[in-house]
């Protein structure tokens, strides 16, 4: 079930009505939230429910065992292995078998490895990471163990954020589920504002950019360097609007239900260095990797090259989390490399004195370079795109001027938003006018087919 469909509108209307009726009856409210979440998730494929129920039950049990028994480490290990196995089986089995097959071919080993073709349950990477963080936090006593099964299951499966985040932490959500939600007038208006803008980001901008990006990236050999450059810019904005649009809708829906989800995007294309970018982009995942991978690896402690190694390794793993393909690993590696190479540069007087806009442009272009690997269908396509961009041959560039001008205007809006002139955007007239224009565009563009969110594939 996608947020921008009629199905969801009906689903949410019913869910919300009953949720409000049961607001003061915590157990019934949680049960209803869980049922609604399972309906939402099972809409894709009811078989996925078996997986999530199994995973939830095991983690719930493990949480209790870690808190109450001496076998803390054993249960933590069981749980982490189970999560890793689930991800490995559903998400990476195809990748591993395919690469093993290639390796055997190269080494002339006469072994025919069948390539695993397993249906990837939607959102598995998200809810697995969410439950992993809970178990680790219980182990390190950063969060109180949850003894109420329905509450824990609601936390794992909560429909606004379960399939594509934000990857929430138990310490943020579980306390919110313990009491009757406080739904103020402001929460509803904020929720609606967030949802509407998310809708516009997805339907108007992301899906529009997708048409151009898909056209160029599906046949990169047909296009010249200018077109490929602009298609890469377009993808940078497509993925931002797609994912942040989803997050806005998720946060909007949750907020209207009196649940506060964490911020997941904070104007990432206004970042002034690569570290800053990762503090603004997919914040819930970046902080997850920081807390559960980077810090346990040693974090900022130790000698310089060890820190560099920690950064690089964390980013490579983050790339691999996104998808089972070499392109994602390289994407993660490039981001890590970029971060490592600029850690010291960022501290120099030269960089500190460089105008902010120059730094923002540099970071944006570096990120765009890495997006080539993220979006390309395979490694050879990515290399072809890079090669063609570097050749600077411009035969007949195809740049949808109107579309990219609109994106340009949004960038200017973002730059103003993050500058001292933000007040210009904060009067009622601009807000209402902006929302009206955005909604008119939504109404115009909503007649097309509903496209899936990019991050659902992860």
């Amino acid at each position: 079930m996608l947020f921008h469909t009629w199905t969801f509108v009906i689903f949410f209307t019913i869910t919300m009505a009953v949720y409000l009726l049961l607001r003061r009856h915590t157990n019934w409210r949680l049960l209803w939230l869980l049922i609604a979440s399972y309906v939402f998730y099972g809409w894709w494929n009811p078989l996925f429910l078996i997986l999530i129920f199994y995973s939830t039950s095991l983690e719930y049990l493990a949480g209790l065992m870690i808190a109450d028994t001496r076998y803390k480490k054993t249960w933590l290990t069981i749980c982490l292995l189970n999560s890793t196995f689930m991800l490995g089986f559903f998400k990476y089995a195809g990748f591993f078998t395919e690469n093993l097959r290639t390796l055997f071919t190269i080494l002339h080993i006469p072994l025919n490895v069948p390539v695993a073709n397993i249906l990837l349950p939607v959102g598995i990477s998200f809810f697995t990471f969410q439950s992993m963080s809970y178990i680790i936090d219980v182990y390190y006593k950063k969060v109180k163990v949850e003894r109420h099964f329905i509450r824990y299951a609601s936390f794992v499966a909560m429909f606004p954020q379960m399939v594509a985040g934000p990857i929430e932490r138990g310490r943020n959500i579980l306390p919110q589920l313990r009491h009757a939600p406080v739904i103020r007038k402001l929460d509803v208006s904020d929720g609606l504002s967030l949802f509407l803008i998310g809708l516009v980001k997805k339907v108007v901008l992301a899906d529009f950019l997708a048409i151009y990006v898909d056209k160029v990236y599906n046949n990169p050999s047909f296009y010249d360097s200018t077109t490929l450059i602009f298609a890469t810019y377009a993808f940078a904005w497509q993925i931002y609007f797609d994912f942040s649009g989803y997050t806005d809708m998720a946060r909007g829906v949750a907020k209207a239900m009196g649940i506060r989800l964490m911020l997941n995007f904070n104007n990432p294309y206004t970042a002034v260095d690569i570290g800053d970018f990762w503090r603004r982009w997919h914040i819930s995942l970046s902080s997850w990797f920081k807390d559960y991978v980077y810090v346990p690896l040693g974090g900022n402690r130790g000698f310089k090259y060890k820190v560099y190694w920690n950064v690089l390794l964390t980013m490579v793993i983050s790339g691999f989390w996104h998808g089972a393909a070499w392109t994602f690993i390289i994407w993660g590696g490039l981001n890590g490399l970029g971060r490592v190479l600029t850690i010291d540069l960022e501290k120099t007087q030269f960089y500190l004195k460089t105008p902010k806009i120059i730094k923002q442009l540099l970071v944006f272009h570096f990120i765009c370079l890495t997006w080539i690997f993220f979006r390309a269908a395979n490694l050879s396509d990515a290399m072809l795109i890079l090669k063609k961009i570097c050749q600077f041959n411009n035969v007949s560039p195809e740049i949808p001027v109107f579309l990219l001008s609109a994106v340009g205007l949004i960038w200017i809006y973002q730059l103003i938003f993050s500058s001292k002139y933000k007040w210009l955007l904060e009067n009622s007239f601009v807000r209402v006018g902006g929302m009206v224009i955005a909604l008119v565009l939504f109404l115009i563009f909503s007649t097309g087919a509903n496209k899936q969110f990019i991050y659902f594939q992860f």
Partner: protein, 372 residues
């Protein structure tokens, strides 16, 4: 100092009052007022013997506007599918045009659309044909739509339905129609909110039936505004007369199963259309056929005659005037139901000579001369 909590990534944060103002502007201004003003300003060209062009057959906005104009200018409205619309003839040789020529006056308006089977016609008149209430209507019924369960829409197998946006969206009857739930709701939205009907019109009239975003990608250096004009010509532009009959085309005799009247969805829909027109105080005359009997095997012809008789009996029982189009000479059929130019001449003559039909045309002619 406490750090200010970030609301979201560059989002407009509106309070209740602002959201309400936005809602009012969108609902009243955009969804209803804008299409109303557009409709008043836009000039849809409808010359003499106008019919809605093949490319505009899905543009129900144009149909609605043409129905409004026709109801104002013409005393008789002719409704039907491609037989009345004039599949193999140009706009000056269609059945309504031939009747007008014989009467030497613009009496009959061609409000037929290609592919308009009865199930779709019910939707067309219900949602876009309100303007023709109280008018004299010649309603064509083409039994060809009942020749198989597939075209009758009573089959369970999925198929491409003509005019899917006009058929009932939430009826469990039409199992062959498999639009998604969201798609069906979007269609209902188009029928009830004029803005979406206008959007579809703009897409069809100015953007080659492409979604706006797809068009902008396909035409990277054009602005969409330059495409839109306030004068639209939805008439048929390239239709040529064809003289090739069904035998010359090499069409073999057909063994059609025919769906009995009591089981036919198309027939049920047709009776609903009649009921709707009666409720709207329309003066109705039904034209049954034509249908090429030479293309049917003897067994299939027997079944067809039985159905034809059933249709006439029902119309008689309902006290509805009707004309049963007689069998034309074989060479005057272009296919199973479409006549060629000479076939239309014969039908027009028959209609005008028919005692049932004469009062309409006379009334039409007299009304027209009064108006002049």
């Amino acid at each position: 100092m406490r750090k200010k909590r970030i609301f979201s990534s560059n989002t407009f944060r509106l309070n209740f009052k602002e959201l309400a103002i936005t809602g009012v502007i969108i609902i009243i201004g955009v969804l209803f007022l804008l299409p109303f003003i557009w409709g008043k300003i836009e000039n849809i060209r409808t010359g003499s013997e106008f019919r809605i062009g093949y490319d505009s057959r899905d543009d129900y906005w144009v149909y609605e506007k043409w129905a409004e104009k026709a109801a104002e200018k013409y005393p008789v409205i002719f409704i039907g599918d491609s037989v009345v619309w004039g599949m193999y003839v140009d706009s000056s040789s269609t059945l309504p045009a031939k009747i007008n020529r014989r009467l030497n006056s613009q009496v009959v308006a061609n409000l037929a659309i290609d592919g308009m089977h009865s199930v779709a016609l019910e939707g067309l008149l219900k949602y876009y044909g309100g303007a023709i209430k109280n008018k004299t209507v010649i309603l064509h019924y083409n039994p060809l739509w009942m020749n198989s369960r597939k075209y009758d829409l009573s089959d369970d197998e999925e198929m491409q339905v003509h005019h899917p946006r006009l058929i009932p969206q939430f009826s469990s009857k039409y199992k062959c129609y498999t639009e998604s739930f969201s798609g069906r709701l979007n269609i209902c939205r188009e029928r009830t909110v004029p803005f979406f009907c206008l959007l579809n019109h703009i897409r069809l009239a100015f953007f080659n039936n492409e979604d706006l975003n797809q068009w902008m990608v396909d035409n990277p250096y054009k602005t969409p505004f330059s495409q839109i004009s306030m004068t639209v010509d939805p008439s048929e532009k390239e239709k040529k007369n064809s003289s090739e009959n069904w035998k010359q085309k090499g069409i073999a005799a057909q063994e059609w199963e025919w769906v009995p009247l009591d089981k036919s969805y198309q027939w049920q829909a047709f009776t609903n259309v009649v009921k709707l027109l009666k409720e709207r105080d329309n003066h109705i005359c039904v034209m049954v056929g034509p249908l090429n009997p030479y293309m049917l095997t003897p067994a299939s012809l027997v079944k067809f005659r039985k159905i034809q008789q059933g249709i006439c009996n029902w119309l008689k029982n309902q006290n509805i005037e009707y004309v049963l189009v007689p069998d034309l000479p074989s060479e005057m059929y272009a296919d199973a139901s479409h006549p060629l130019d000479k076939g239309y001449d014969l039908i027009a003559d028959t209609l005008l000579q028919s005692p049932i039909f004469v009062p309409y045309t006379k009334q039409g002619a007299s009304l027209c001369s009064v108006k002049k």
